[in-house]
Structure formats: structure tokens, C-alpha cells
Symmetry: C2
Subunit: 368 residues, 2 copies
DNA sequence: ATTGGCACTCGGCGTTATCGAGTGCCAGAG
DNA sequence: CTCTGGCACTCGATAACGCCGAGTGCCAAT
């Protein structure tokens, strides 16, 4: 069972790698002869065939049918990604472009994410997804209550890293802006610095106790406000590039196409698949072990076909990574494509986009 | 060329209507025999055949090939919609459901639109689209400038009908919250009541002239604020039900499917197709002439296939309508489906959703 | 005007044959 | 023991053929 014993020897590695790359490019089962011709292995096709047979035996490849070429299995892709591929560096020009685009929308996170998603889908030719940062564990900095119309109040929250959330709630229309302002100020004074998820209704009651607002009214306002705070974590997904997917062979059968489009249309499902598995530290993270030193700390995660454990997405892969805002806020961006995906290109891309986002957001406030 | 002379006689009308309805249901060219059997016309198939031939002559129907049944042309659908169909009333239960769902998210327009879109796509089985109300012609009611972090300010606009827009801008970080508040108050005092699109930069300069803020700083703030005001019209589209589309025959060929998915993914394109054609009053509005009296004023619009004048959407139809907020704010909702669409069901649905939105939004502020 | 009857068309489908890319295996060479 | 050229075999894809039947258009009879 020792991993060392199972380790592939040099030739197997070379050939597995060649098969994956060829298949990704051509979308057709790859034949021994083709490998010999295009990847100058100094071998005959017969030898390659025997290696292919072994790789199949070991579960890295499979044949769609006898007398067809080989296709990588999930395991084949996995090994390719973890051990065999080389990340191809992005063109300088591409980098500039990404940087420039992201720079533009740096002030509004939603806009930034939309941009990032657009860049990723365009750059990779697959579908990309960006998720809002999760704010449940972020900290309350400011809270304002603004009367929009009689009976309708805007609850405005400023959180860690200057993230803003707002929400309109309904309150008794006897209250005036002055009372609301006092309530907000009281809450802000007492609870600024608390994590959203730690803020309880009672804490808010205590905070706003001496605002001179009749208790029943106060409680209504507080309750609505509290609800707004608890629901600050809207799960917004920015999906881009859907039409790209339909270009790929694997989705030429409508059934598959529908499964994927469905999945991509379901915010809940996507969020689930994108979120970094918080306590499952073991969950197949891209080790990044063969990354160039400079970005050795970049953790991306790839999930391939069955690994997604998602009915209907057996032909898909997700590449995801986590971007960072100051004060430990994080969110996810990712790329979804066919299992037969140009992983190295995608990973380079997504890593760079993530790096750029991190960089921009970290230094945002200190730049003019 | 008089329309009266071209008018179809009773039998032609009956048969055209039957053909459309049968085709919508079965998705296959409809044959004379089938019509006789299922729509108890007291005629033989031979007679029906001759009528069908005439309808084809007149351009209402076509044959995919000799010895196949008939299929409606754009013109056929058009006539069906304008003159022949009967709107089927919604089940009471459905109505309740729509009302209840919309009621829930009445306070946040984006949420309301998301809901509406969801209801429409679920209810009709097609794709639905909802657009934010356009606010360029709405009026400024309140404006606040809130310092989020040093150098970053939230511009918050309250507009007609209590619509809220916000945007984060970057300003010199020497300014403090007090100065910002003064600027905002001055603008609000002078410009409240102005239409957004009428607000010029100079007007803002005049309004904020005596706020005791150094001119160059002031101008920077004003400029950013002005930009935020001018860009208040974000074109957000809420699209729901994409997977539904792929269920329909016409999109079983990937090429078609891709065209549609592309179109639906392009906010700009969609917005263009959904917006009510403001000055082109002649543009094919659903006359509503055969609507029940109670909703006689409901204007919906249908555009069929070629009428969309959109490369790649020849097999699609759009049904759109306009919802209303107080103070003349309007936005669009619509349904997109194959040309072979259950128009009467869709129109009933969309009309009711629109009615309900209008109603809820109109009475929103007066309810608790 | 309507209809039953009839000849005609043509897409869809199942059958069959052919082709060739690709494999597995093996015997012989290095 | 490894590698390779050769060979038999498999099997999907494609094309050709024929048949069936749904559906039409036309016409003569009522």
C-alpha cells in the first residue's frame, strides 16, 4: 500500500503526461503511434502500447472500447496535476491586462469580482465563478440606520476591510431619523469590533437600552436590524462564460449540457462546491509542490469528475482558490470546465488573478 | 392592401389557431388528420388540407418538406397572438402563490426581481428575465456621503419611490466625516427634487459652494459624487431558468443552444431586447384587445423570431412587459423561450406577475 | 362546397457491407 | 531481459440500400 511502491517510473510518467496533454488538446482517445510521433519518445509504438496497457492496469487510463486509444481516468488527471504537469507562465502582456482591468474596479468588490470572473473565463475559455467574501466572521465597524421613507429604513453595515452591506427593513413609521440615529450610534459604540456571528439580540438590547425610545418600538427596530446583520452573508455568485462550455465536445449531448447549466445556475450548489472545506484540511488540496518558489504558498484546489461527488458533474472539473482581504476575510474564485481541461493553463491563470486581487485589496487603502 | 380584405375567414382562423396550439404542444409538424381528430372540426381531412394549403399560400404556415405537416411561420404566430388566442386564466392557487412569494421580498427591489424571475421561469417553464428599474429619469431625494475608511467614501442615493443606489468612491483622505456630511447636506438641500440626468457638475459646485471645504478637495469629492450619480443606472439582469430552455426540441442542436445561452449571458444585449422602445410607439405592442375587461390596460409585447432582428435568436420569442413603481419609475420583466411557445400561458403569467408587482410596490409604503 | 380515393413524396429507420484506426500478442533481434 | 516489427483481430464510424408509412395534392363524385 505504500505510496512509494506504487510510484510510477520515469517512462510511465512521461507517457501518462503525454497522454493527458494530447487528450486535452485533441479531445480524442490518444493512440500509441500518435504519442511516438509527437512526443519524441525514443520508442516504438509497440513499447508504448505495453506501457499504456500497464497504465490502464493501474487505473490511470481507460479505453472507451477495445481498439480505441486511451483516455485519462480521474486518477490519471489527479496524478498529472499533482506530480507531472508544469505550470506554464502567463505572457507578460496577459499579466498586464489582468492587472489593469482589476485595478479599475478595485473600489467595489462586487465589480471587482465581476471583472475577475470575466477575465478568468475569457482567459481560460471555460466558465468562471467568483463568490463574495464571507462576512459572518468579520467584524462590525460602523452601523447606520437611515430613514428612506416613512416606515422603511436602510440598515447599513461597514465591516472588516471596509466591506459594505446594506438592507432595507420595515419599521413602525412613528420613529424619526433622530431616534434611529441614536439607536445606531449606541449599537455602534457598544458592538463595534464584535464578529457578526457573535452578535446576539440581547447584546443589542443592552447596547441600545438608554436611547429613550419606547421599548416595544425599540425592540422592533432592533429585531429587524439584528436580522439584517445575521443575513449579511448574501451568497452572490458571479458566473461568466457559460457559452464557452458548450463549445467542448463533452457537452455536445444535450443531457450533459443541461446538467452542467443546471449546476451552474444553482447558487447554492455552486457555493457548496466552491467554498474551501474549512475543517476538512485533508481535502485534496493542490499541493503546489512543483510551483516556482515565488508562489510556493499559493494553494489552489482541483476537484476532478467523481471527486466532486455531484450527480451530473462527472464530466467536469473545478479549480478553485481563495482570495484574501485584509483582516482575514476570504472569498473564492474558480474555474469550471470539462474534466479534459487545460489544467496548467487554468491554474496559472487563476493563481495570478488571485494573487493580483490579494495584492490590490491589501494595498487598496494605502494607495491614492 | 387593406387589412380588412386580408382578414382570415372563420374556418381559416379556427384551423390556424388549432395548428399553432397543436404544434406548441407536440413540437411536431401538424397533419390534417390530427387536426380533424383532436379539434372536432366537422370536416374531412381533405377539406382541412385545402385550407392548410391556403394558409400556407398566405404565409401563415410552412412545410419543413413536402409530405410533412404544417408549422406556423412568424406571421402565423403573430396572428395567433394578436387575434386568435384566448388567455387562459391562472389557477387561483397559482395566483396566491405568486402573491405570497412576492410579498415576502417587497422591501428590496433586487430581491423582488429575483423572486419574480424565479416565479416566472418556474411557472412558465421557460427562461425569465427581470431588469432593474431605470433611474436616470428619477429624482434625487436624499444623498449621503459616508466615510468607510480613510480615503474611501460611500455615496448613497435615495431616489424616487425610495429606490436606493450606492457606490464607493475614492477621495483624498484628508477630508473628515464632518466635511463630507456638510457637502452632502448642501447638495441634498439644493438638488433634492432634480432628475438625476439633469444634474450637472456645475450645479453641484454651486450647491456646495459655501461648505468651507478647500476648493480643490471639494472639486474632487464633487466629481466623484457626480460620477456616482450619473452611473446610478446599473444594468443588472436577473436571469432564471436557463436549464429549462435546453429541454426544448429546438435547442437540441448545440449550435442553437449556444446562440441562445450566449444571448442570455450578455447583459447588454438582453437589456436592449427588453427595454420598451420608448419613442417607437408603433413597435408591435400586444394590443391586449382580447383581454378580459379588468386588465384591458395591460400592455405586453411579444417579439417573435425574426422580429427580434437578432442573429442567432431566430428560433426564440420574447414576451416582455413593464412594471411600475410610484413616481413613474419603470422596469421590465420578460420571458424568453422557443418561438414555439405557449404564448397564452406565458402572457397570463407575466401579466399577473406584473400586476402583482405594480400593486405591491404602489401600496408598499402605506402598509405595515 | 365537401369528401373519399389514389398516386406520389420523402424523411426516418433498420440492415448490411466496407473501411481503417488502433490494439494485443508473439517471435525474433539486440 | 528489453525492445520491436509484424500480424490477426476488434469494433466504431460511414455509406449505401431498401422499405415503410405518414402525409400531401389532386380529382372525380356527391
Amino acid at each position: 500500500m505504500s505510496r512509494e511502491l506504487n510510484r510510477l517510473d520515469g517512462r510511465k510518467r512521461t507517457i501518462l503526461r503525454a497522454v493527458v496533454e494530447e487528450y486535452v488538446e485533441q479531445a480524442e482517445p490518444v493512440a500509441s503511434r500518435c504519442l511516438v510521433e509527437r512526443y519524441n519518445l525514443n520508442l516504438s509504438s509497440a513499447s508504448v502500447r505495453s506501457t499504456l496497457a500497464e497504465l490502464e492496469q493501474l487505473g490511470y487510463l481507460e479505453q472507451p472500447h477495445t481498439s480505441a486509444g486511451r483516455v485519462p481516468t480521474d486518477r490519471g488527471y489527479r496524478t498529472y496535476i499533482d506530480e507531472l504537469m508544469e505550470l506554464e507562465p502567463l505572457a507578460q502582456e496577459t499579466k498586464e491586462h489582468i492587472r489593469a482591468q482589476l485595478q479599475e474596479s478595485i473600489d467595489e468588490i462586487p465589480e471587482l469580482l465581476r471583472q475577475a470572473s470575466g477575465l478568468l473565463s475569457q482567459g481560460t475559455g471555460y466558465v468562471s465563478i467568483a463568490l463574495q467574501p464571507r462576512v459572518a466572521s468579520s467584524v462590525l465597524r460602523q452601523i447606520k440606520l437611515l430613514m428612506i421613507e416613512p416606515g422603511r429604513v436602510l440598515v447599513l453595515l461597514v465591516l472588516s476591510a471596509g466591506v459594505v452591506r446594506d438592507r432595507i427593513v420595515r419599521i413602525p413609521d412613528i420613529l424619526d431619523q433622530g431616534q434611529l440615529a441614536r439607536i445606531a450610534a449606541a449599537i455602534e459604540q457598544q458592538l463595534a469590533g464584535c464578529k457578526l456571528r457573535d452578535i446576539s439580540f440581547v447584546m443589542m438590547q443592552l447596547a441600545a437600552a438608554d436611547t429613550q425610545v419606547p421599548e416595544s418600538l425599540l425592540n422592533q427596530v432592533l429585531f429587524e436590524t439584528w436580522t439584517a446583520i445575521q443575513q449579511a452573508d448574501q451568497l452572490a455568485t458571479y458566473v461568466d462564460g457559460m457559452p464557452n462550455l458548450l463549445r467542448h465536445r463533452e457537452f455536445h449531448s444535450i443531457a450533459r449540457a443541461r446538467d452542467v447549466v443546471s449546476a451552474l445556475s444553482s447558487d447554492g450548489l455552486l457555493t457548496g462546491l466552491m467554498e474551501p472545506p474549512e475543517h476538512e484540511a485533508k481535502a485534496i488540496p493542490g499541493s503546489g509542490e512543483n510551483l516556482p518558489a515565488a508562489s510556493a504558498a499559493v494553494p489552489w484546489m482541483v476537484r476532478i469528475g467523481q471527486e466532486l461527488q455531484q450527480q451530473g458533474l462527472e464530466d467536469c472539473s473545478f479549480v478553485t482558490t481563495t482570495y484574501h482581504l485584509p483582516e482575514r476575510l476570504v472569498g473564492s474564485i474558480g474555474v469550471v470546465g470539462p474534466r479534459r481541461m487545460a489544467y496548467s493553463r487554468v491554474i496559472s491563470h487563476i493563481s495570478f488573478v488571485r494573487q493580483t486581487i490579494d495584492h490590490l485589496l491589501t494595498w487598496r487603502s494605502s494607495r491614492s
